[in-house]
Symmetry: C2
Subunit: 310 residues, 2 copies
């Protein structure tokens, strides 16, 4: 294999789109693109926005983009379409709505399908974010429907993670604890003109158990995205969060930690690929697998033998 | 390490519960229990039941168990509590409702938390199902809230996969296509006394594109679980499905394929564990990781070097 060492060309939205398609394909395609991009620290800020279907996430992103654009910041958006069979929601409608920025060369929107369950989505979205950063976008937004682990893996790589909730979340609030609390920097109660908004805010604050204030202000905000209410405040909170990340040294730390996770996961994917190829090729390992299949060995013993001999 | 070769003792519900706790812990604990159980073909039937929160799954399971018990079949149930931060639903209430069988020694219920995102849940539920089978239950039900990949991985190991839907699923029906169609043997439209039930049934039939009939009858059934309506028909359909699986040879084939997947996944988990231990121990590989962390190497190049030298 000839490895091209030429730097990649990122001179137009079309070139960017093509390179994202290649990293989305994964494997050697992604590897070549990212090798050629080279080690390159991110210069922009990455926001992850997640929340249940129907929480108005996409409208919120749409309005947040408008506020950022008004300050002259350019924005790249990676929108993950749901993989869960039950997630639902008017995803395509949301994508259409984003067309409000379609005449604006300072906004670039890319949808990605969440089909892959081997962590490929997290890798592809990370690489896509890096390409968008290299292209020069000031702000990169990763938007996911938070229904599964793979979607959480995507937003986890952001500098700021925003979780969108709606009034009347009620019973659901307990289940919010499972994984999202650790990674959320800001909670937004959207559709805050609906009954029960104050209670949801109070419940979130209690759950966070923080006295309600963090170095970047209140971690629980209210918005009515359809009317732009609260959106400038969210933008301010994000900027304060970044300032905090920078002055505290946490930004550098988080990004180093993230690179570490990424490398380990890339290695794991490759080991997995090689194991499968080895088993498919027949030979001794395939024989052990056969013994398990025919019931001569229990699966755990078979696995231990494959590891010993592999 | 001394490996105990004595067969495990499975002489009481308490002993069963203790062994399930050990397989739930995973790692060497699970390995030892399953080694001692030995290679042992399943003798009972495994049903996987999944569906969105609020579809009345647990009530349906409850009534299905009553029908099976009336025929003298014993039942072990593994109920997976949701891992998704947004799944919601009155999970604990459902568990309480299952107490209707609590005086019946022919029914054994075990909840498992869906916290692990490394495939541990699928392994633990598979091993637990095997223990229940060895204990002598005729029927093993894996019940999950179908919100994420890990829950789908759990029901995938069943002989029959039942997907529960509700009337008015509407837009969601399109998204059902993503993964569930390939693994579902039966669809149940529960709460079929609600408006729109016929339309949901028709939509599911169109989606299945099968002319509405499979060797085990219609793949789309209607139930009103709270009134026991349609539940005996579901039980009959399941029995016909098993008959088909046996006479066609598909049961043996499916089970062999499942063992294969299981072994491969166990090997992958162990390789992952070893890689992480190696990186944590310092040395050359850790140095490569450091170079990625400090921005000297891009993550893909770092991953390739670790694989070369590992």
């Amino acid at each position: 294999m000839v490895i091209t060492r030429d730097p990649i060309v990122l001179d137009s939205p079309r070139a960017l789109a093509r390179l994202i398609t290649r990293v989305e394909r994964g494997g050697q395609d992604a590897e070549e693109v990212m090798r050629r991009l080279g080690p390159r620290p991110l210069t922009g800020r990455v926001i992850g926005i997640t929340g249940p279907p129907g929480s108005g996430k996409s409208t919120l992103v749409d309005r947040l983009v408008a506020v950022a654009r008004a300050e002259g910041r350019t924005v790249g958006i990676i929108a993950i379409d749901p993989s869960s069979p039950f997630s639902g929601g008017a995803i395509m409608g949301d994508r259409v709505r984003m067309l409000s920025h379609s005449g604006d060369s300072g906004v670039f929107i890319r949808s990605m399908a969440a089909r892959d369950n081997l962590g490929g989505l997290a890798h592809a979205s990370r690489d896509a974010a890096r390409l968008m950063d290299a292209y020069g976008f000031d702000l990169i937004i990763l938007e996911t429907v938070g229904v599964g682990q793979s979607e959480l893996d995507v937003v986890k790589v952001a500098d700021s993670v925003v979780v969108v909730a709606v009034p009347g979340l009620g019973d659901t609030i307990q289940t919010l604890k499972a994984g999202i609390l650790e990674i959320a920097d800001l909670f937004v109660v959207n559709m805050a003109d609906r009954p029960g908004a104050d209670r949801t805010v109070a419940e979130l604050r209690t759950m966070l158990n923080l006295g309600g204030v963090l170095p970047w202000g209140s971690p629980v905000l209210q918005t009515v995205a359809t009317e732009d209410r609260g959106v400038p405040e969210l933008w301010d909170a994000l900027k304060r969060h970044w300032e905090h990340l920078e002055t505290s040294g946490e930004l550098a730390m988080r990004r180093r930690r993230r690179v570490e996770t990424e490398v380990v996961e890339l290695v794991e994917r490759e080991l997995r690929r090689r194991l499968r190829a080895q088993l498919e090729a027949g030979g001794e390992l395939a024989g052990v697998l056969d013994a398990a299949r025919s019931g001569e060995l229990d699966p755990h013993t078979a696995a231990a033998r494959i590891i010993e001999r592999g």
